[in-house]
Amino acid sequence: MKRRDFLKGCLVSGAAASLCAPSKSWAVGSFEGYPDSMGVLVDTTRCIGCRSCEAACNKEQKLPEPDVPFDDTSVFKEKRRTTEKAYTVVNRYEANDAQKPPYRKMQCNHCNEPGCLTSCFVNAYTKTKEGAVIYNAEVCVGCRTCMVACPFNIPAYSYSSAISPIIKKCIFCYHTRLKFGKPPACVEICPQEALTFGLRSDLIKMGHERIRETPDRYVDHIYGEKEMGGTSWLYLSRVSAEQIGLDTTLGNEPIISNVKDFLGMVPMVLTIWPALFTGIHLLATRNKNHGDVHDNHSEQEDGKK
């Protein structure tokens, strides 16, 4: 009887172990991003806060009418974030001295190793070879872990829908443009050429070049080159990254590295626990009745201290 229970325990956990094994190997292997990943270089020194990218995105992604028209600059009074109605927003930040205040466009950064993707338990996200992080609403359960896991606070949720709420975020215009090699709508419309579309690797070179050519125009850093494992969208800036609302405390490790410790211990528990506890059981009950522990209540009553 006991041996059979033991085997059964091993079987269940063994099955579960094999279930989790792939997750471990995937999680621990480090991934450098696709070589032909495209990206966008956002040169915040050129941005004038005209919000035309917001308008273009709204049109391209067929989003609902905005609450405030796109030529209204009163929105800069507060810091906005992406919502279900806006996949990208431009915010104004404090200037250092007499200079013009810097603006920064924000949208999904299309991380090389996206937190949203790794946290999703139905694998709704895909990192395409072009670099876009796209999302499949058909399988999404609505747990919103991806929103918790995105270090840049990007995904929004259409809470107002009772029947089919889904995640709403920038998808790099994948289905309408990127797939065909075309630049995204927001990039195309930018009157200042603040946004440059190209191969991510080229953009990094370009960024460093700009910094070298006009060092007093930029801080010597491309945000997104390494941050959080690297992102497809990259930022150049005259002021420090935190001044334009970019989190610099996140480090260069992708989100998944934080979870590795746990994922790595899962197979251990699955393999060691059954043997350990069955062993303890055999030891603990050796001197008592060898039959089924539960079969005989009166005997146990006597046996207890």
Partner: protein, 455 residues
């Protein structure tokens, strides 16, 4: 009820109502009372009136959530994707439900038969806690009807939540099997009891594995948000250990608290064995809990030291952290230690209650209160969110009470050998048998599924 028993009413505690006649199902449901008696005692209980008010307000709001969407009951915050439903209902209820695996382990695996009178309460507490955590989850999910998706439609095996989904659902069926013994006794189905007894050890061991992993996994979920959970509550290597270890005193103290409430409100349901062993077992559980608390405190400090986070103690967050640790860990630790030594039951019980509160506070801190500490604003949940949370909790209490009143959890089912044939009449009823066979089958297919899905 107490009064009724005093006035000579007999409570159901075996299959036979005295002279060889079996209780009917109706009589069992009505606790052996007549209908007017039953309704009368229910109406006399003021608690039922409170529940009635909560349900009258809360249930329409819960329905409203499904008709008008989540934005109707919550602030639909994109910055705080998880609100009270998960912060309280999932992250708070699950650790307090570790009692099932803890008592199962001590009784079955460690052979601590002295704890046995409490075992069933522990198992039931576990089952209900998980069940209602899932209820909270269903209310919170955007598309709850897709909950089985991670099992059948689309897999994200690198996700911690994937593990939680699989483990909680498997564990829920394990717990149903464990608790079903009481149910089989109550309806009179000895075959089922024997079937479960055969696999008890297997169930218990898989319970340990599943519990270790998903209690930890709930903590690991927050390691996806290193920039959002406040550093004092965050630790990439220790987070899952914190959640797992704190669930040990949490589960034990929840059982102490529940048994305390039960002894105040439904002592008529206790049998002699339970009544006599209650204090002794409470002390044993408290010993376990205080060891758990000490371990928890140590690793909490270790993780602070490991990442050298002492500087945060100088901030308001640090004070709040100390408040949480003091109320939920240090104070009850000393109270339990003192009270165990002096066998002071009142202090033990109060200390246990503090631990339970401390667990809720900790989980709410991680999930909600200190979450997004870098953002300039704090999110206060919508009033409807509070009401829904309260309503589900009230429902939990009502179901808990319903079962404790009836099933042999707090008392032992009396089986009189000479009346054994009486079983036969009961088990002859085919629909019943079918239902149970069906339940057993789903159970085994669930296990099989997990096997096949993986191979």
């Amino acid at each position: 009820m107490k009064k009724l028993i005093a006035s000579g009413t007999q409570s159901v505690d075996s299959l036979q109502k005295s002279h060889g006649r079996n209780w009917t199902l109706m009589e069992k449901l009505f606790l052996g009372l007549t209908l007017p008696q039953y309704v009368g005692q229910a109406l006399r209980n003021p608690l039922n009136w409170i529940f009635a008010i909560i349900f009258a307000v809360g249930i329409p709001i819960i329905l409203g959530r499904f008709f008008f969407g989540l934005s109707w009951v919550t602030h639909s915050s994109n910055d705080y994707p998880w609100g009270l439903f998960l912060g309280f209902g999932l992250f708070g209820m699950v650790p307090l439900s570790s009692s099932g695996f803890l008592l199962g382990t001590s009784c079955v695996v460690f052979g601590r038969h002295d704890l046995e009178p409490m075992e069933r309460l522990g198992l039931l507490n576990g089952l209900l806690g998980y069940f209602f955590a899932v209820v909270y989850l269903l209310i919170d999910l955007g598309q709850p009807w897709r909950l089985p998706f991670p099992m059948v439609v689309s897999f994200g095996p690198a996700a911690v939540l994937f593990l939680v989904a699989w483990h909680v659902s498997t564990y829920l069926s394990v717990q149903i099997a464990e608790v079903s013994t009481s149910f089989f006794e109550w309806i009179g189905f000895p075959i089922g009891i024997r079937a479960i007894r055969k696999i008890t050890l297997g169930l218990t061991v898989s319970g340990i594995i599943l519990s270790t992993l998903h209690q930890g996994a709930l903590g690991a979920l927050f390691t996806y948000a290193p920039g959002k959970v406040h550093p004092l509550w965050y630790s990439s290597s220790y987070q899952w250990i914190h959640f797992f270890v704190s669930s040990i005193p949490g589960g034990l103290c929840m059982v102490i608290t529940v048994s305390t409430i039960a002894s105040k409100t439904m002592s008529w349901r206790f049998d002699k064995r339970f009544k006599e062993s209650l204090d002794r077992i409470t002390i044993s559980l408290a010993k376990g809990a205080s060891m758990g608390l000490a371990t928890y405190l140590t690793i909490k400090l270790m993780s602070i030291a490991h990442d050298n986070k002492w500087a945060y103690f100088a901030t308001g967050w640090g004070e709040w952290y100390l408040v949480e640790i003091f109320i939920g860990v240090i104070l009850p630790m000393f109270m339990l230690a003192y009270a165990i030594h002096h066998k002071n039951m009142a202090i033990i019980r109060f200390g246990a209650l503090l631990v339970v509160i401390g667990i809720f506070l900790n989980r709410l801190n991680v999930a909600l209160i200190t979450f997004n500490w870098k953002l300039p604003y704090r999110e206060i949940p919508h009033w409807r969110e509070f009401i829904v949370t309260l309503t589900v909790y009230a429902l939990y209490i009502v179901v808990y009470r319903f079962i404790l009143y009836r099933l042999p959890i707090l008392y032992e089912w009396r089986v009189e050998k000479e009346f054994a044939p009486a079983y036969v009449t009961e088990t002859e009823s085919t629909p019943l048998r079918l239902a149970v066979a069906y339940a057993a089958e789903t159970e085994s297919t669930a296990l099989e599924n997990s096997d096949t899905a993986t191979s």
